[in-house]
Amino acid sequence: MTEKIITIREALSSALREEMLRDERVFIMGEEVGVWGGTYAVTRGFLDEFGARRVRDTPISEMVIAGAAVGAAMAGLRPVAEIMTINFAFVAMDAIVNHMAKVRYMFNGQFTVPMVIRTTTGGGKQLAATHSHAPEVIFAHFPGMYVAVPGTAYDAKGMLKAAIRDDNPVLFVEHSTMLQRRSPVPVDDPDFLLPIGKSDIKRTGKDVTIVTYQKGLEWSTQAAEMLAQEGIEAEIIDLRWLRPLDLEPVFESVKKTNRAVIVEESLPMFNVGAEVAAQLQEQVFDYLDAPVKRVSAMDQPLPYAANIELMALPDAQKVVKAVKEVL
């Protein structure tokens, strides 16, 4: 199998393209996916290659982007709908939560909803309060759908392809500041798929378990390097999916390290760390040698000015500090 070092953007783009070539029922719809080529350039060239039938520009109408994708999926197509940023998904919340995630259950399995909503998340770009949070955890609250949060090009490709092929609805969350991140990705395997709902040990270590995903993975990796200078070995577990949430490797890791730090970009109240910490005390209470620590954004709206925006967001130093507090 040939691997090539490519960006997350290229990984997403190739995953979409491969799946569209493989399955005629797969199509793309969303704002600026066609003529513009995608606001993050993920679908650049797609309109020329696949035509306007399969690459469908929509009006600025998130409710119907999500809802029409649900209808099309119920009827047998496999839509990949794009909602430009997850902040706009709030206006489509009902379509996503009440319809996408529930029609199968509510009608006792008469309908399946094989669709993906791709969207971007994350702050750090001076876009101020409405455009800057990482609220994907909100969507992980609801059974009936999955939430993907890849943090590497490798994962982005294998997870997106798996999401498109799965018969369940998936909210596929991409981080808007990580699209240029590179990693080796299989390029000549059209069936390169990663399992749905499997977390991944990104780094092994014996002193502390860092549970994280996406941007947090970056901060945690930097922090682990800094900690390694001082002889502290951090184990990093990348959740990759917020639902299904795979914490088994986390439990096993904490049995070994006896301490856990959860790192994420979300706001602190009711976030991923809250869930992970709760499950840790339920499952491995007797292995904890220190309180479980969370690193997240500050509990407030994000500002415009760069210096105070960075102040409100996590970074590697904050992760290092949190790790030292539990050692």
Partner: protein
């Protein structure tokens, strides 16, 4: 009047054992000395002999239970007598795979308090005003430690794992050891943390085998030794021509059926005699106390199918070679059959590991704490030698390496020890005295 039978202490560092099988059922008549049950310790499966006679009225623990030393395990009395006894002190055996092996008994100076503490084992409750992590509480519960006595080094003074594991209960002030003290347990060793080599490999190309109790114990002891004991090593070469010749003569003159004397028996004897002159190396390390043993019991490492066990040649400096040869032969046989007696394996003051039979030139051994040292014996082999007259010839040589705990001794003493031992080996007639 019913009597109770207790879980015997079958080794100085035994704090608990798993009762694997009841040999005598309720209602069975027993006589003192009968085997009533089998228990498994870290070291071996051992049969328990009853200390009472009568009829078994009640089993107070179940097969599979882990029972602290000293806990009542059975009631014995007249048939029909009411079977009222102490509440069982056992806890169910831990789930195998999911938990690390139970933690060693705490270090105790002397040994007795460890048992006492164990019996009033903590129930996991936190004394008021004490902060302890869940893990520290679990370890304390397993080891029967009182959290209120343990200083905490974690955030906000919280007791964390390292505090519990390094804690030595000091109920009684440590009395200086009297004559022939019972060696106390080694410093407590935590479970061996599994190394973080990523997920367990699986698939057709590998086979996962559960770590046996013996292996786990060896693992814990050796990790502890390598981590805590500052080893240093000294090697020398000894001329064993005379020793081999003497051995041949001795064995040739043996009566029919008598055990043959091995090279190893002679090395044991030489070591023991040397240790007489180096009491510091026949001692055990307990931090602020170094306990010198006045008797010399040499542990002999015996390879088993699934590990290693040390049998003990007692008073090796005072035992005749022929007697020692017979005793050693029996002990080794029992060890290989998994039927050692407690006295076979307890009380070593110094240890020898001999890989000579495997044609090993030279190696270094890990000290078995709290012992001061260990000898690693290579093979006796013919090599070119420079004779005292300067000519080249062929001679028999054997390399011996001593590993020593630097907290107890230094290089010069170790070197003198080898020098002294070399004299004995090269003039072996003194071994017969």
């Amino acid at each position: 009047m019913a009597e109770t039978i207790q879980m015997p202490k079958l080794g100085f560092d035994m704090a608990e054992g798993t009762l694997v099988r009841w040999v005598k059922k309720v209602g069975d008549p027993i006589n003192k000395g009968d085997v009533i049950a089998e228990i498994e310790t870290d070291k071996a499966t051992i049969e328990i002999e009853t200390t009472a006679s009568g009829t078994i009225l009640k089993h107070l623990v179940n097969e599979g239970d882990v029972v602290p030393v000293g806990a009542d395990i059975a009631l014995v009395g007249e048939p029909g007598e009411a079977a009222e006894g102490a509440a069982p002190a056992a806890r169910p055996a831990p789930e195998a795979a999911s938990e690390p092996a139970p933690v060693e008994a705490p270090a105790a100076t002397p040994a007795q308090p460890a048992v006492a503490v164990q019996v009033k084992a903590g129930d996991g409750r936190l004394p008021s005003g004490v902060k302890a992590s869940p893990l520290a509480r679990r370890i304390a519960r397993d080891k029967g430690l009182d959290l209120s006595q343990i200083p905490g080094s974690g955030p906000g003074g919280r007791i964390v794992r390292r505090d519990v594991e390094s804690f030595t209960p000091m109920q009684a002030p440590p009395a200086p050891p009297k004559a022939a003290p019972v060696p106390a347990a080694p410093p407590a060793a935590g479970p061996v943390a599994p190394p973080s080599f990523g997920p367990l490999p699986a698939g057709p190309d590998v086979e996962a085998v559960p770590t046996s109790k013996l292996r786990a114990r060896i693992g814990r002891r050796m990790v502890e030794a390598k981590q805590q004991v500052p080893h240093f090593y000294v090697t020398t070469e000894m001329d064993v021509e005379a020793l081999l010749n003497l051995r041949q003569q001795l064995n040739a003159s043996l009566e029919e059926g008598a055990a043959k004397i091995s090279v190893n028996d002679m090395i044991v004897k030489a070591t023991a005699l040397t240790l007489r002159k180096f009491p510091n190396l026949n001692s055990h390390f307990y931090g602020d106390q170094i306990v010198r043993h006045k008797r010399i019991h040499i542990g002999i490492a015996v390879a088993l199918e699934d590990g290693l066990i040390n049998v003990v040649a007692r008073d090796a400096d005072r035992t005749a070679l022929g007697t020692m040869a017979a005793q050693n032969k029996d002990m080794v046989a029992r060890a290989r059959e998994g039927k050692v007696k407690p006295e076979d394996i307890e009380g070593a003051t110094f240890t020898i590991s001999n890989l000579g039979p495997y044609e090993v030139d030279q190696f270094i051994a890990i000290i078995n704490p709290p012992e001061a040292g260990i000898l690693a014996i290579g093979a006796a082999k013919q090599v070119p030698v420079v004779r005292p007259d300067g000519t080249i010839g062929v001679g028999w040589r054997m390399k011996v390496t001593i590993s020593v705990d630097h907290r107890i001794s230094d290089g010069a003493e170790a070197a003198r020890f080898l020098q002294e031992m070399k004299k004995l080996i090269e003039n072996p007639m003194s071994l017969l005295i």
